[in-house]
Symmetry: D2
Subunit: 490 residues, 4 copies
């Protein structure tokens, strides 16, 4: 099946499939536990869906693509749900308009819980009871359903954060984690030789159709920053007039800045009467309002802001192929949903790396060296403000020293923390063809007008991520936990 | 106090005030009983407010205008509520934007119930305990607060109807009332001599500031229809191409028809596959979807639709002064909220009148006669379609016969059932001045761009209404239970 | 014919009709003389029409309502013009969308001149040649066509002013008039006794259908200011924070202030670097940019601004009936289009009155007295700013002295200078019925959502005006030469 | 200079530069010759600019970037033009808002002609008189200015076509060309082996900065259609419900279809009463309305439509790299502006090729073969409608026959006729850096949210085009002469 590269289904191990399915379903329900029924109704903008809609929609997916066609005697829970909880599958039929999801108070939270139970139990019967040959056919669709429900788990948290942020009471979804003050490690640069490389999914595991076919790409030499851009570094951009100087911005980005009145990342706020500086800024998180931590990664910036910051810093964003090449052999571990922090954390310096992020020397490294103090493409001077920037960002440079290739700096935070904006438009890989039918609408039809993000974030379910994973959002999207990793030509 | 005409406060009778206050507060809470917490969050358009917002806003009114200034030692429940639950009082300070009320899941329903209890108890202490001289000062504000909360009781029902109507599941707020099939009584005409009359509030009872000063108005002779226009009559207008023929419409109304795609009253629907005709139409009510009853009054039309219907029928809408003159001596009884029907009902013919609506011969009547079959201003012919109209509407004409003045037809449905659109723009009466301060914002600042409606409707609290009451909505508003009474020159 | 009150047509005097027709047509063409072809194409907002559209539309009116039906053998100039140059007559057929008039470069200015000539000559043949009985039928329509073309003459100037104002080059339509520095006469108050009066057109002359029927209205005693509010007085309102203080504004007006960023009348501007004060402000006129003259009437304010100013000044706007009663016996003379100034002028004090405005003692005056210094309804205090207002506005008061009734102050500027906003919504008079057919769409269908203005302005053709004339614009309209006359209860 | 690849300036030959400059300026002026002054003012949508704005803006470019800084004693024609005629250069200062260009009647056409003469003469003095060393510095900017003015020559025609299309009179810009009925040659397929190729500008000639750096790209084997898709083929897509079937469309494209009501290419129209079929459709061209020619290329489709058509046909659009590789060695000749046809023309079969399009066997060809009748990715069946498509499109297949590699089919229409949509988002090439300053805003800041088009069209100046040229428009743009060439995997 074109959706899946390799053999995803060890059809014999039904118990493992049932357990994984049960775990996934339980995690979705658990995410709603801290919420009132009232919270689960609200749609704060068209891109956001109510919690209870997410919980019902993923359930509809199981019912529509697995239970209806494949479980003998299955009773549809409520025929009206086909209209209410179809997200965008044109082939399945008409559907409730997306911007109107927040108008639906019914079915209520309790009714949707009943719907979930009905479907969970039926799916368990299907997985347990279907014959082996059929199961081998269904396993890829079940794997897709699990990946789909994991995506919506992430969205539940992205979306409720946006909902709560609209409320002047600034409710907290969860208690704040204990926060150890920390200094960001120096921003260093890791070199890659480029050449004719391959990207795209390969191997036995599950992948979405958009991750293939695996294919060749030519890359010029490049460098990646060893960690994400921090709030402190981004604040220097803000203080340098970053949001008032068109020379850093793509034309569409500058239009967005002016049309939307952007002055800082989405969830930053400055209480009236506070001085302008690090101490003056706060950040809304899923644990409520917190002082802005200068060592933590900047998050909730659009592609436009990420691109403008990079231009201001005299660098650029990585391409998808560059990022994927650099990440290909790294272990997929980091600050994901399972850690329960629900917010990006400051990078741990490479000295501490193996304890925390398990980041070994990069195997693909061939001519590692630190980035020296003279970046190739200096950013335009800006009078006095230039001094501020020169003094503060990028921080790593002043502390750089010559190191041998053997001690090439490790890439930190590649997985988890923030979705990393690339400079690559979301487009089909050579030879990509969507499968026929409704499931073929999953990814292909969105290959227009969006940018690729890589690596997952602090609300992505652990186990959901891989180097070839292609997330995508419009360039103006800010609520999706987007952050910044710098790159430059080698 | 300028807000109130006459002496509203029998300050001595504190027990009666406490009981009336308690009843009013209890009725608000009771209106939310059939609703889930999820239902109480949704804002389906900017004009609609969530149920729990209404419940909190009326509570904020008591806290802000009575408890804060006048109850010694009163503890404000939550200072943030001043921002959240101020509706439009510019003098009180900034407030949460109206179209964003539906984004607030917190405070939740339970928390707002605690807020209500806190304020209800404190108000009871205030009413019971304040000294007599102060009470006489406060009584008009308390009376205003009660009238204000009653207005929001009506709005809770108008608004939840709109919320439920957006939901494809079409939930019912209440069980359907048993419905006795009934034929509308003939539409007859009652004559009024006009002359130099007086309108506006007078006497001891409470009234809003906008109902005064009482003042003289000159009226030419006119006639009023004895009952509201029915669904059946309105259907004839629809069937005659009413929504496709510009000649019946005000210019702004025709623009609204085309911009909004109006084809029928707000809550009418025609299931796919049903034939076009009375049987084909259904109506969404607070008891769910019901077949359209041709004998019941048409409701949920805009001023534009009411005006276009009247023009099609060769008549016009009454002016506010005409309506008020006709209603001045009628008892204020009818199908109000206390009957629990929550929907307009077909008129009872005048023969049954005294049992049901207590409508005695109109005391102001001086030259009553029935409207004969030749209306003064015939509507333009419309080919074949004219036949339909000629056959069906207005019904009264064909059945008219000469009657003596002594048996002048009674005016039915003047109070309750539907708010009746007038042709009068909402404007200050001669000599009107808003009082200074926040409470002065109650009515005066809306005296622009809206039309007057009279008489109350099926979701208006009984006891809230009087002939001088001036309701007002923009001419395009349809969710506010507006109906049609025809008038014509005498 | 219902459009016309009285006998408009002295059918015998064809020469006079031909001359009046020729004069009217020539004046339209002359108004375009100072313009380039390029100027005549632009539509700067949906309410504005291009000059050449006006010139063609009035011509289409003659062709459609007179020549086509009544001139034997008339050849339609171009059948496509019926679609292009119909303004809003639904009964005539589909038409080019109003907001898209500025997209039509063709027919060009020269072609439209040919169209005009073709129609002018044919109309002259019709007027000269038709038999007497027919002419008596046509004369009212010809009178209507003349009034209609005069209305568009006014609109040509209103509209081109708006077009030129959008241009950073601020082109002048005409050379500036020599301007004699002048002080505004004191703002005095003239009393009227009210009572049961009559308004609406009567007599032999032409009038639009909306000016009738003449009918009775009851008026309480009232006073009118003797002249228009000046720029200097309005500037005191601006300086007192008038545009930042919601307490003066209707709710819709305050929304307009904030949505549109209003800070001053439409064509005021303050060059960067200029100090804030009279000297700092400039005004764009049809003669280009000029320093703001404090003694000239404020013009290009919306109804909302006029109403807010009046509230700030502790007064109100007059009702239409009050204004018409006061104007009924005044000579219809003033600063109209024929003076060529194209801008309101400072009032001449009543001492100079007869030379300039021919304003005799008002014949309806019965208990004239000057307004003393204590207005009945003081405006809300505003701290320090109140001092400024107290000191400056309304100016007349401080200079008032007791005068005898014999020397009751004359009403200045009632006709010409500025259209005067009333507090009256534009609604049908009792007994009004639009005539059937396309011509019936002329006025009646706009009787919703607009306010009445009286008296004409500096770009209104002389001879077009009368006391019963009812102009109407939406409350937010600012490009229509609206000004302010204050009133108060007597 | 980074803007220019190679040595563009043969500084010694001033006479040639002067002649080329004079020719370019004269061509711009000549393009306005068929237009009235009225035509040159209109802006029919924000993306369109008035003719006279184009004529002034290109002149401003010379004045701002050449004359002001480099011609001693140059007198700026009018300082206000800097504000009026800056298009988007943020670094140059504030500018008149783009959507408001159509509000400027002044400066008029005659004044802009004076401005042009002033600048043309000064530029001629500059080119003729500046010293050799300076000229070598200026030559690249002059070359850029010429390319810039040529771009606006193309835009003048694209834009006036859109302006005229809004006019119900459907004016013609030029007389129709004699049209020889013609059958489209069969649509054949040419194979390319792919591999590690290079794209981007190289060599001595002028190029825009966005065309470099030249860089390596890996291509899989692919095929290109030998000619553009015809109206006849596109009509089969329309007739097959192409605009009503979501399965062919990108998600954003389907949203555009529904939001904008697209049913056919931009300038197609079907007169009322005409039958549905080839005969029923007409097309608006710069020569007015013409019957739709089934053998001519479809033009004025958006990227979304091109993509949907390709999906319907079971193919895809080419990538930019594929297109450029295929075009690299073809002569740059075709139906450009100099032919004066101003509309795409039906392809001439390869037999006639050398006479008309000079298309030799493609030098890069290595394994040419015809596309057989079984496309790899069949489009979804559509019941009866499928029959229509099967019978009609793509036409070439049924007529295909086996040919030897030696007679590999020639690529027709690669240059001229229609801008060819690619599947490539407009993004920077590896190593691209915009130059500092205002001129650096020329291309780089638009590298977001747009798609690349290749090859030029019937209104592109001859000599302006090359294989590496990168045009770009948003995916929804339809007025820009976009057409369709199919591709598929090899």
């Amino acid at each position: 099946m074109a959706l899946l590269a390799g053999k995803t289904a060890h059809a014999e191990n039904r118990a493992a499939w049932r357990a994984r399915f049960a775990d996934c379903r339980a995690r979705s329900a658990a995410l709603a536990t801290p919420l009132l029924p009232e919270d689960q109704v609200v749609q704060s903008m068209p891109d956001v869906s109510p919690t209870k809609w997410h919980l019902a929609h993923v359930t509809w997916f199981w019912e529509t693509f697995l239970l209806g066609p494949h479980l003998a005697g299955y009773r549809v829970f409520d025929p009206a749900y086909d209209y209410l909880f179809n997200s965008y599958y044109e082939a399945v039929g008409p559907r409730h308009p997306r911007p109107a999801r927040g108008l639906l108070s019914r079915p209520g939270v309790a009714e949707i819980a009943r719907y979930r139970d009905h479907v969970t139990q039926a799916m368990d019967r299907l997985i347990a009871g279907v014959d082996g040959m059929t199961f081998r056919e269904l396993a890829p669709v079940i794997a897709l359903g699990l990946a789909h429900e994991e995506q919506h788990q992430e969205l539940i948290l992205m979306d409720i954060k946006h909902v709560f942020a609209q409320n002047p009471l600034k409710p907290a979804y969860t208690a704040p984690a204990p926060h150890a003050a920390r200094t960001a490690p120096p921003l260093e640069w890791r070199d890659f030789a480029g050449g004719l490389i391959e990207i795209g999914h390969e191997g036995d595991g599950f992948a979405f159709d958009n991750e293939g076919p695996r294919h060749k790409v030519w890359l010029e030499p490049f460098r990646l920053a060893t960690r994400l851009v921090t709030n402190g570094e981004y604040l220097a951009f803000v203080a340098d007039g970053g949001y008032r100087r068109p020379e850093f911005w793509l034309s569409d980005g500058w239009a967005a800045v002016n049309a939307s009145g952007w002055e800082a990342p989405l969830y930053w706020q400055r209480p009236a009467g506070k001085i302008d500086g690090v101490d003056g800024w706060q950040e809304f998180t899923l644990s409520g309002i917190a002082p802005l931590d200068p060592a933590s990664p900047v998050v909730h910036v659009s592609h436009y802001e990420a691109d403008a910051f990079a231009r201001w810093a005299g660098r650029r964003l990585p391409s998808e192929a560059e990022w994927e090449t650099a990440a290909a052999d790294l272990p997929v571990s980091g600050n994901f949903l399972d850690r329960g922090l629900l917010h990006p954390q400051g990078a741990t310096s490479s000295a501490d790396c193996d304890q925390v992020d398990s980041c070994p020397p990069h195997p693909a490294l061939d001519k590692a060296r630190l980035r020296l103090a003279n970046p190739k493409q200096p950013s335009p001077p800006s009078g006095e403000e230039g001094r501020v920037r020169g003094a503060q960002a990028p921080r790593g440079e002043e502390e750089a020293s010559v190191v041998s290739a053997a001690s090439a700096p490790a890439l930190l935070q590649m997985f988890g923390d923030c979705w990393e904006w690339t400079q690559s438009a979301y487009a089909p890989y050579p030879g990509f063809h969507a499968v026929a039918g409704a499931i073929g609408e999953y990814n292909g039809k969105f290959m227009s007008g969006q940018m690729v993000l890589k690596g997952g974030c602090a609300v992505t379910p652990a186990g959901h991520m891989r180097a070839s994973y292609r997330n995508f959002f419009p360039a103006a999207a800010r609520w999706c936990f987007g952050g910044i990793r710098l790159a430059e030509d080698g």
